[in-house]
């Protein structure tokens, strides 16, 4: 057991899923305030057909090749969502729902075909649905590490710009920030994070890794900076702990374990979160109740009239 965990490949995989979790936490916080949580879900599902097509066309299973296919297909999905929303009366979330199911259905169909063409389950592409970090080779790990670090770097470099872009885009445009440019950067970072995660976490679970750390962080803080930092922390823990646990069983998928860890952090935050946690709110309510009960009727009124 120990030898497996400390084999150099596992260490690299562990590092890369940790960094992936951190990247997902940062860009997820931005998606949260852009009120586009479903977007990450739609785009990660939309990446699947691209993975299969890239494999069928190039016959390679290197992460880098598959990432490009995934990115193209996710971007096409994003474009469709925008076109549907802009040119019809269909709302944005309905458009996301449509694209999610259509692209995912197409992906599964292509997967079945490719499994027939490549004898048996040789392609191993079905791993992309639930994710299998252990299947990654060193070049995959490096590709993922590099891109994840790039995402993190850009998010933190543009910290001030994200803030105004999310809080007041109209004012931001007024003082000369290109909202179109920020939209492009945001979509590019989101898609990058999704596609580098699909091998380790899988297309279904990737959305959860993007959304959950950000939502959990929201329960602890009232500052955007802190939220971003906490989301990176929660994301990193989810990524590493999930990978660690899945390494115990041979052939265990990584994605579900990462999501289980992320969800546990969320449930803990939901109850005990310092700012919005259920327990804290309840205690505050009881405290006020007691205060009111202690005062004789009418005394408050007198206090106000002073």
């Amino acid at each position: 057991m120990g030898s497996l965990l400390f084999s150099s490949n596992t260490q690299w995989v562990l590092l890369s899923t940790t960094i992936l979790g951190i990247a997902a936490g940062t860009i997820g916080s931005i998606a949260y305030w852009k009120r586009q949580n479903l977007m990450s879900d739609a785009l990660s599902h939309a990446a699947l057909p691209g993975v299969v097509v890239a494999f069928l066309l190039l016959g390679e299973k290197k992460l880098f090749v598959l990432i490009i296919g995934a990115a193209i297909s996710a971007l096409i999905g994003a474009l469709f969502i925008q076109v549907i929303h802009a040119s019809s009366r269909i709302s944005e979330d309905a458009a996301m729902g449509m694209i999610l199911s259509i692209f995912y259905g197409l992906g599964v169909m292509l997967l079945t075909i490719s499994n027939r063409i490549v004898s048996g389950n040789q392609s191993g592409l079905d791993k992309f649905i639930y994710g299998q970090a252990a299947a990654m080779v060193k070049t995959d790990v490096f590709t993922m590490l590099f891109l994840a670090l790039l995402v993190i770097l850009i998010v933190f470099l543009l910290f001030k710009e994200w803030k105004i872009y999310l809080f007041d885009p109209v004012f931001a445009k007024g003082i000369g920030l290109s909202i179109k440019g920020m939209n492009i950067i945001y979509t590019a970072l989101l898609v990058t994070t999704i596609v580098i995660g699909i091998q380790a976490v899988g297309v279904i679970m990737m959305a959860a890794l993007l959304i959950t750390p950000a939502v959990s962080a929201r329960y602890w803080t009232q500052s955007f900076k802190m939220m971003l930092l906490l989301a990176t922390f929660f994301g990193g823990i989810s990524g590493s702990a999930g990978t660690f646990i899945s390494a115990y069983g041979s052939g265990w998928p990584t994605g579900p374990f990462i999501v289980v860890v992320a969800s546990s952090i969320f449930i803990f935050s939901l109850f005990f979160g310092k700012e919005k946690g259920i327990l804290v709110r309840h205690m505050q309510f009881r405290m006020h109740q007691k205060k009111i009960a202690l005062q004789p009727p009418g005394s408050r009124q007198r206090e106000w009239n002073k």
């Binding site: 001030k160 105004i164 999310l166 004012f171 931001a172 007024g174 000369g176 929201r218 009232q222």
Partner: protein, 254 residues
Amino acid sequence: MTEQVLTVENLAAAYRKNTVLHDIHFTVNAGSLTGIVGPNGAGKSTLIKTILGLHPALSGKVSFFQSTYEKAKRKIGYVPQRGSVDWDFPTTALDVVTMGLYGQIGWFKWPSRFHKAKAYESLEKMGMADYANRQISQLSGGQQQRVFLARALVQNAEIYFMDEPLAGVDAATERAIMAILKELKAAGKTVMVVHHDLQTVRDYFDHVLLLNRTVIQYGKTDHVFTKENIARTYGGNMRWMGVENQDGLPSIQQ
């Protein structure tokens, strides 16, 4: 001759199906405090947004300080409607005011202590110093509006556009905001304010722009804000309070 700070020629704008604004012509002089007045749906907010290039213009030309918007950008301050942003966003009042300095700070750089001090000064001016580190979600509507105004002040612009800064604020905030607007005017700045309360137009503004899809009339309040012009702007659905008085205060009956 006073300096012309804003010239609008033949401006038109539309939303999906309807033309909202057409044939807009007017020239604003430096140091004027203008109320933009008109019924709901007259295109008041759209006018501001189109002038500032935040909404696409169908035709026409807008020049600031005899130059283009791009060149004059630093001299232009904008206060959007309070409801246009997400007040749940986790940030403090001071932080929001600092956003007014982002253009000066430059992109990709972080605000320095100097910028924070400037933002604080501006909050103080709006009587909001005690709330500097308060979460914006915990501020009342009037306080949020003061924060928005402080953010505009810190920009130190030459011409300000404000979209209903007095909507839904209490009397104290209204007085505080008007005091600042008059101070800006006294300092030679130009201010254009979308305004809804016909009763106060005379007290607040030295110029009035009556708008209903197009400019009904623009000029000095004394000349423009007459019964006839107001009736033309609002389509005659008016009931006049104190009719015996020639300058009676108009109110609207829908």
